[in-house]
């Protein structure tokens, strides 16, 4: 483990993790990987399967990053899953139905995500509806809208040249053919890196933490609390838009009824990654690790052909356990 120290601490600095011990969330991940590798080496420890795991983390990973911001403000966003779908649908509307060129269509879809986030933010700040309810309402509303807009039929991107390459193509694979890591994974890590910078090095990040720590004190410091909250939800909405594009590209279609329930996976990833639901504490790196813990777990159980009912039981147990060990670590320095 000694060799790992220096890249670890570099990572820690980059992602703004002060206490190195927090990176021990890695430990759970490593443990999981080790267990599955031992139990099922030939199927689990293959390049294909690892790429599969990476690929399956992209969508939830990006949603979890968006949720991290909201959760650090001590809010919650139940609409992220459906918002993702809404953005995928809007991408379909702009690109397929209206025939926008790809970059413009993508920008418009992301803008719709940001807009929805902005509306949640406004409902929370101006109407003083608690985030849980505001985003629950938005979830229903956006779900209905997605179905209405598409008339409950998927929008296919089959005729859009290169759309599926956003997620499925592999720029890395083009250069190093032995390493066909899909672009979706690159995008996930890119989003993570940008968001880590935003969270730790910018005013937006500082206010995110401040709001979660003591909103009233921030207000009395002369900060426009409402404006920043709206900005944070808007930003998170935009990030959800990215995950909408990822899923649309992966499925080469916008599936209007998908997405509900994803918010719970995203929130679980965030909390497993050490972000506190009571706000004020959290890191992007932790969230990414949390997301990987979830997807390695599910993949491993599938690889081991564990019955789906048992998969549920075990996932439930391990989510609890992961958060528990995270607590242990934190309380025992």
């Amino acid at each position: 483990m000694t060799q790992a120290t220096s890249p670890l601490s570099w990572l820690a600095r980059f992602f703004g993790v002060q206490a190195k011990q927090k990176l021990l969330a890695f430990a759970s991940l490593i443990a999981l990987l080790a267990v599955f590798s031992v139990l099922k080496p030939d199927a689990f420890m293959t390049q294909d399967n690892f790429i599969g795991i990476l690929q399956s983390t992209t969508v939830i990973g990006v949603l979890a990053i968006a949720s991290t911001f909201v959760i650090i403000t001590s809010g919650i966003d139940l609409s992220v899953g459906v918002l993702m779908t809404f953005c995928a649908v809007m991408a379909g509307v702009f690109i397929v139905n209206l025939g926008f060129p790809l970059p413009l269509g993508i920008a418009c879809a992301l803008a719709m995500g940001a807009l929805s986030g902005c509306i949640s933010g406004l409902v929370i700040t101006k109407l003083k509806v608690p985030p849980f309810i505001a985003t629950l309402g938005m979830m229903m509303l956006l779900k209905g809208l997605s179905l209405l807009i598409t008339q409950t039929r998927p929008i296919y991107f089959s005729d859009v040249e290169g759309f599926d390459q956003i997620s499925l193509g592999s720029l890395i694979g083009d250069v190093f053919p032995s390493l066909p890591i899909p672009n979706g994974v690159l995008i996930l890590f890119l989003v993570a890196a940008v968001c880590a910078v935003v969270l730790n090095k910018t005013a937006l990040g500082r206010y995110t933490f401040a709001l979660g720590s003591n909103e009233e004190a921030v207000r009395l410091s002369g900060v426009n609390v409402d404006r920043w909250k709206v900005i944070i939800y808007t930003f998170a909405g935009g990030i959800c838009g990215i995950s909408g594009l990822l899923i649309a590209s992966r499925l080469n279609s916008a599936q209007p009824a998908l997405g509900q329930g994803y918010e719970l996976d995203a929130i679980a990833a965030v909390v497993i990654g050490g972000t506190s639901l009571s706000g004020g504490v959290g890191t992007i790196l932790g969230t990414i690790i949390g997301a990987f813990i979830m997807s390695v777990l599910i993949n491993g159980l599938r690889i081991m052909s564990v019955a789906q009912e048992w998969q549920m039981v075990l996932t439930g147990l391990i989510i609890i356990l992961a958060v528990y060990t995270d607590n242990l670590r934190r309380n025992k320095p």
Binding site: R206, S213, A217, R219, G222
Partner: protein, 507 residues
């Protein structure tokens, strides 16, 4: 048994603490402390902010567990496990920080866990609860309806509820950690009456305060702590200068009060005809450049309300506010900050400090815009520099700039809150109870700082329930009673007597 043992005699101690140590991550809060408490004495515990007083008391009250050392109760070693255990040992505590349930009534707060029951213990007897509480309040001469939700009370009254709660137990040891920080003189007198009564009943009382006069009035013995160790225990009639020297490790010199002539200076802030419900009634005043204006008054007089209203924290019914002669609209604290105002709240836990953030984030919170590169990225280096300056200047005792604010001692938290407004560099500053919980050494430094700020041409409003503080600092004193300004006294003529007279001028 003959007459009551007089304090100072060799009586068996109720509590004796030997060689007690306690560490937190990065901090050795207690390091071989010794301390003893006899029945029937008021034992003052003194020391600078962060000396370890609260930590010692929390160990006695079962909130923290000691690392090493020994605590004896009636000569028997005890291991105090939890607050409930401390209660069962008849140790009561009034914490420095308020710990009340805002949504519950005063009565429900006081008797939580000991509610009277009816119907074979199944149901709570709310009437009995309120009667018991009323009886308790009557005993304490406290005028307060037992059914008032605590969240609707001012900090001072919440403090009284905490005190009532501690007194509702039959305790043999009563620990009071800065009980008077939020109280005014009349209430302090009332508290002292109760303390004397308890003392005569043989209760041992630990009394923590940074107010020297109180120590002289009430204490029998004084123990001084510094940096987590016990310096010495001395009789209370030891000269205060000497006690302070033991605390801070040097003698303090007293600055003489000098009132500059500011009558020709520009009026920086003018408030006209402010009204807000019954709390603020037709309040007008002005503050000039270079002036320190004190606001005196009894608890609930409306001083905090005025400051919050001017600062935009609460909406106004009517009134206008002029800054540098210009009418400004202040609808939110943000407008106020933009107009050059700063407001240091009296309630640092709720309104002052982002307790989960580190020291430097707190210090730079109002002024964050100034520490950004390209309007977006934090300039870490600059933030470090300015925070370190403040930590040095105010002697904030913290292991590092990235220590979580919640983990600082009470007084040091207060200093952090002061620092954030000093960094913001406002022209007009409201300081609401600025030295609440601050030790004598730091207090005199903060006084100096305020005087300097005024001398640099800022306008300063100091709201304080400590009359000596108002008297020492103010160039001009405004007195409030029941939401009105009842008088104005030039600093040179202000005395405790004439201010009190105005503070009680009801109509």
């Amino acid at each position: 048994m003959d007459s009551m043992p007089s304090p100072g005699h060799a009586v068996a101690p109720l509590i004796s603490v030997q060689n007690l140590s306690k560490s937190f991550p990065g901090v050795k809060a207690l390091d071989g402390v010794r301390f003893d408490l006899r029945p029937g004495e008021v034992h003052a515990l003194m020391g600078e902010n962060g000396a370890g007083k609260s930590t010692l008391m929390k160990i006695l009250a079962g909130v923290y567990r000691k690392d090493s050392g020994e605590v004896r109760l009636d000569g028997e070693p005890v291991e105090i496990q939890s607050p409930a255990h401390a209660q069962s040992l008849a140790i009561g505590i009034i914490h420095q920080e308020l710990h009340l349930m805002a949504h519950l009534t005063a009565a429900q707060n006081i008797f939580l866990g000991r509610e009277p029951r009816k119907a074979a213990g199944l149901l709570l007897d709310e009437d009995q609860l309120n009667r018991d509480t009323q009886a308790l309040f009557d005993r304490l001469h406290l005028v307060l309806a037992p059914t008032t939700p605590v969240g609707e009370l001012t900090v001072a009254r919440q403090q009284m509820v905490e005190i009532a709660k501690a007194l509702s137990f039959k305790t043999r040891v009563l620990i009071m950690d800065e009980p008077t920080a939020a109280l005014n003189n009349a209430e302090i007198d009332e508290l002292f009456r109760i303390i004397r009564q308890l003392r005569s009943e043989g209760v041992g009382i630990v009394y923590i305060s940074h107010k020297m006069d109180e120590i002289q009035r009430i204490a029998d013995r004084v123990t001084v702590m510094r940096d987590g160790t016990t310096i010495d225990t001395v009789p209370a009639d030891t000269p205060m200068e000497q006690v302070i020297a033991m605390m801070v490790g040097r003698y303090l010199e007293h600055a003489d009060k000098h009132i500059p002539d500011t009558s020709a200076n520009e009026v920086l802030l003018e408030v006209r005809g402010l009204n807000r419900g019954r709390a603020i009634r037709d309040v007008s005043f002005s503050v000039r450049r270079g002036e320190i204006v004190g606001f005196a008054g009894l608890m609930g007089a409306g001083r905090t309300e005025v400051a919050r209203a001017v600062f935009g924290a609460d909406p106004l019914d009517s009134g206008e506010i002029l800054v540098r002669g210009q009418r400004v609209h202040i609808g939110s604290p943000q407008d106020a900050v933009r107009a050059g105002m700063g407001y240091l709240s009296e309630d640092r836990k709720h309104f002052g400090l982002a307790t989960g953030m580190d020291v430097e984030s707190n210090i730079t919170l109002p002024s964050l815009k100034r520490w950004l590169k390209w309007g977006m990225f934090l300039n870490r280096a600059a933030i470090h520099v300015v925070s370190q300056q403040m930590v040095d200047k105010l002697r904030i005792k913290t292991p590092s700039l990235t220590q979580t604010a919640r983990l600082l001692s009470g007084g040091n938290q207060q200093k952090v809150v002061i620092a954030k407004w000093l960094v913001q560099d406002c022209e007009i500053l409201f300081f609401d109870e600025p030295t609440r919980g601050i030790d004598v050494g730091a207090k005199s430094e903060i006084y100096k700082l305020l005087i300097d700020l005024a001398a640099q041409g800022r306008a300063i409003v100091v709201i304080s329930s400590e009359l000596p503080e108002v008297l020492q600092l103010s160039h001009r004193v405004l007195v409030m009673c029941e939401g009105r300004i009842t008088g104005e006294v030039p600093g040179s003529q202000a005395t405790q007597e004439n201010l009190m007279a105005l503070a009680t001028r009801r109509d």
